[in-house]
Each structure stands twice: as C-alpha cells, then as structure tokens.
C-alpha cells in the first residue's frame, strides 16, 4: 500500500487576502505528514502531525488564530479516529492549550471515554503532561477584528476571517 495523506484548511467565503496563506500552510501540512508516513509512521501519527502544523498557523481557524466566541474567548474542538478498530478521541471547549488535536489523540489512546469537554478536558490534559498557555496567546488580531465586525453586523455562521474581515463558513 502506497501511503498517502490528504489535508484541508477549511471551507467558506475565504477572502483573497487569505488564499496564499492557506495554500502554503496546506502544502506544508501535507509535506510534514507525507515525510512521516514515508519514514514508516502510522496514519494516526501522520494526521496529528498535519493538523499540528495548521493549528500553529494563523492562516487557519484552529489553534492559534481560532475565531472567538461572543465573550471574546477561544474555545477549540478536535477529534481523531483510527479506522482499524473505530477507536476515537475528541475534546471540546478547550481554551488554553496549543494543540487540541494532540489532547484528542491522548483521549483515544489513554482514556476509556471518547469525548471530553471543558474542565474535564483540561484536567485530563494536565494529567497527561500537556502545558497550558495563556488563552490570550491563542488570539490573533484578525480574530479580534472579526469578532468586532460580527458584533456590528451579526452575521452568524462565518468562520473564515481575513484582513478585510470577509467571512465564510468552515
């Protein structure tokens, strides 16, 4: 079997100003995971590695640069699934960790549960050795500006943000 990894960086009315960053970041994520697979890594390791790349990149609505809730906070979610045994791990309402996907992976491998949220996800992550970061360190200026624009116009469902703050879903 020839290993392969396919990535996406979000769908929506992505503004022109965000196109180059999304293409660059998507290719970087694919390359990181591809090299890992070529070196004999597992599919589970590869998808986590790809998503970690995009969680670090402000071009994407995940990790650093996530859109904000109505209180101006980051609340992130992630899930991961292994097709050999249908094992799953997921987290939601994560506020102060850099890589929700890595916590979800540990839920899959180390927890009898499938989905942990909010305080429970934080307690689990701390038990597994993940370090918290200041929640404001995950907030980009684009995300702040997008929330302010939302509060002006009340257009629900937009999750893609850009310099001109055009929106989209995804």
């Amino acid at each position: 079997m020839d290993p392969i990894v396919l990535v996406h960086g979000g769908a929506g009315d992505i503004p022109d100003s965000r196109v180059a960053g999304k293409l660059r970041g998507s290719k970087m994520a694919a390359a990181r995971a591809h090299r890992l697979l070529q070196a004999g890594g597992s599919a589970l390791e590869a998808v986590e590695a790809a998503v970690v790349v995009m969680e670090e990149d402000e071009s994407f609505n995940a990790g650093y640069g996530s859109v904000l809730n109505l209180r101006g906070e980051v609340e992130m979610e992630a899930s991961i699934m292994r097709g050999s045994d249908l094992a799953v791990g997921a987290v939601t309402l994560v506020k102060d960790f850099k890589h929700p996907i890595s916590i979800a992976h540990r839920v899959l491998t180390d927890s009898p549960h499938s989905l942990l949220g909010a305080e429970g996800a934080k307690i689990f992550a701390l038990e597994k050795g993940f370090k918290t970061v200041p929640p404001e360190s995950l907030i980009s200026q684009n995300a702040r500006d997008a929330l302010n624009k939302f509060l002006e116009h009340r257009e629900f469902g937009r999750t893609e943000i850009g310099a001109e703050h055009e929106g989209g879903v995804g």
Partner: protein, 140 residues
C-alpha cells in the same frame, strides 16, 4: 477548521479534524468537529473523511459518516463526497466541504462553499487547490 486523512503502509486509515468554531458563537457552543460521524470518520474497511463548513448543518447530516456509507454502498471517493456535500447543502441550505480517501487510496475533494484549501502528495508531486474545480500540481 482543518483536517487530514491518511493511509499508512499497513493500509490503516486515520482521520483528524480541529477547529475554532464559528465567529459570534455562544459561549459553550459545540459544533460538528468533535462529534464522530459528523466532522470525522474512519473505517479501514471503507475509507476516511474529514469535513469543514457550517457545523450545525454538518452534524444534522452526519456528513462524514454519510460519505463513508455511500462508499460502502459502492460509490467511488469522489462521487460519494460530491453526493453527500451537495445533498447536505440542498437539504439544509448551508455549505460544507469534505476530503475523503477510500481504502484503496482514491482521493475525493468537494465543497459547496466558494473556496476550500486542500493538498496531497503522490508520485513526487504536490496536488492542491482552493477554487472550485481547481487542481494545481508542482514537484514535491
């Protein structure tokens, strides 16, 4: 939202999806991404899917699982992805996108939104795109 689907050298499939959600969301809102079958699904016997788009619609439609079930019924990855994404949009009037790998390595990419970025590497070349119908390629 971001996501990835992979098949390793043993033929095992995995899928991961991560998101910040939608802007203007209520405190405590949970979307499709952490809900297995909506934002993420993988089965070595069929394939794997990661989705993106309007979360409330994706979770109502169980989009990722719908695509896997269409493949299980005999559709190829591309047709299954297009059928389910367009079916969700027609039924619920909101847009989405999905990436799919079948167990044999077929690639499916489809989105009903204006744009969705995607990428993969095969035979020493990047394949990628962001516009509707666009497939760019260059040496890896």
């Amino acid at each position: 939202t971001v996501g990835a689907v992979a098949i390793d050298s043993t033929g095992s499939i995995a899928v991961a999806t991560s998101t910040g959600g939608m802007s203007g969301k209520a405190v405590g809102r949970i979307g499709d991404t952490p809900q297995i079958g909506s934002g993420t699904y993988a089965d070595d016997g069929v394939g794997g899917v990661s989705t993106t788009g309007h979360g409330e619609s994706i979770l109502k439609y169980c989009l990722a699982h719908s695509i896997v079930k269409l493949m299980e019924g005999g559709l190829d990855a591309g047709t299954a992805t297009k059928t389910a994404v367009n079916g969700m949009t027609k039924r619920l009037n909101n847009t989405a996108g999905a990436i799919t790998l079948s167990k044999s390595g077929q690639v499916g990419v489809h989105f009903s939104s204006k744009r969705m970025s995607w990428a993969y590497i095969r035979d020493g070349k990047y394949y990628y795109g962001i516009e509707q119908g666009e497939v760019l390629s260059e040496k890896f």
